[in-house]
Amino acid sequence: MVLKDLMVEIKSSKIRREKVITMLYADKKLRNGIKKIVRIDQNSKSHFDEIFNYTLVQFLKNVMEKEDLVIRENIYSYLFGIARNLHLMKLRKEKRQPQELSEKDHQKQADDITIDLKIMNSEKKELIIKVLTLMGDQCKNILMYWSSDYRMKEIAELLGYKNESSVRKKKFDCMKKLSHYMESHPVTAQMLQE
């Protein structure tokens, strides 16, 4: 599949996005490439799984959130770049030296690929899970598409609302709900600003 088509599929709907994920998950070249990247911890399957899964999440998120996303090289180079940065980030977090990475690897790391997954931070992840339990599915869906800069019209079509106006109204209600939560949990609000 051409990269452009792939990105359209990811943005189009949950079902079509899931098909892309399934395809990427079974891609041998992708799996083997990421296995090479995480070779320091090659004995740890859980480490590979974590890097692999977060690589896909970061990629999907970038496609969904960044309308102007440009992938200059092929998709593999882009995904390997994410995986490498994730891997190095994890090693640094664990205060370990990525000694086995060559200088070339470090140079490659200086890509313009940013890792900005909040769920990589366990505290933030816990907080998000907690908030998710308070929000209904409707709020969750509207807000997550809104945060990805989807247009109200697109959100209405994706989630089956009558019109944009209904989505706007619902979105505002959901924002109020979350704002109230943050007012009563100032530490949470502070954490999210960091």
Partner: protein, 209 residues
């Protein structure tokens, strides 16, 4: 105006003119709107986090499905390997089975030559000779078959052993009809079971030719 339609534009700074004034007018009086504007950034961060969680769930689900398929295909592979192993063993057995069977030649002499083995003739085994030893000595050393046979038939203490050795004499002579007549069964002479089976096999094979 519905102020909530313009929150994003207001935060982004793209609201101007009359719309901006109107929005700010509502904002100054609407506590709920103030609350939302105040927490706008945090709400967006949380919403983005919700998207990440949603994507992570989708990826995890794909991973689970992938691992299940991978595991089941692993099981299938094990079965295929096992079946291949069994098939290989069957082929080997089919190819090599004749090597483990007693060869049967078409020619009677060849059969005899290939199957018949001399027994250990109990001659001069001990210093005290018994009837069997003497009888067999008559046959082996003097070539006197009838004398040996008479002596063996006269053994009253162990008639079965006598018959067995007569059968062996006839086997050495290649007179298989007589072997069949005198040869005791395995049950009658268990200690010579293997030898009796061999002689019976030769007799059986010769009959089939």
């Amino acid at each position: 105006m519905n102020a909530y339609d313009y929150i994003d534009d207001y935060i982004e700074g793209s609201l101007d003119g009359d719309l901006l004034k109107e929005f700010e007018g509502i904002l100054s009086e609407d506590a709920e709107l103030q609350l939302v504007v105040k927490n706008y950034k945090g709400v967006k961060q949380l919403s983005s986090g919700m998207l990440e969680m949603e994507l992570l769930e989708e990826v995890n689900a794909a991973g689970k499905a992938y691992n299940n398929v991978d595991e089941s295909s692993g099981v299938s592979k094990q079965w295929i390997v096992l079946l291949c192993l069994i098939a290989t063993m069957l082929v080997l057995w089919f190819v090599l089975r004749d090597q483990f069977n007693v060869p049967i030649d078409n020619n009677t002499n060849q059969t005899f030559a290939s199957l018949y083995k001399e027994p250990i003739w109990p001659i001069k085994r001990t210093t005290s000779e018994d009837t069997i030893e003497i009888a067999l000595s008559k046959y082996i050393n003097e070539g006197n078959l009838s004398a040996a046979k008479s002596m063996l038939l006269d053994i009253s203490s162990d008639k079965t052993a006598g018959r067995y050795w007569i059968a062996e004499i006839y086997a050495k002579e290649g007179i298989w009809d007589s072997v069949e007549v005198y040869l005791p069964t395995q049950e009658e002479l268990p200690k010579s079971k293997q030898r009796i089976v061999l002689l019976q096999t030769i007799i059986k094979d010769l009959k089939h030719q």
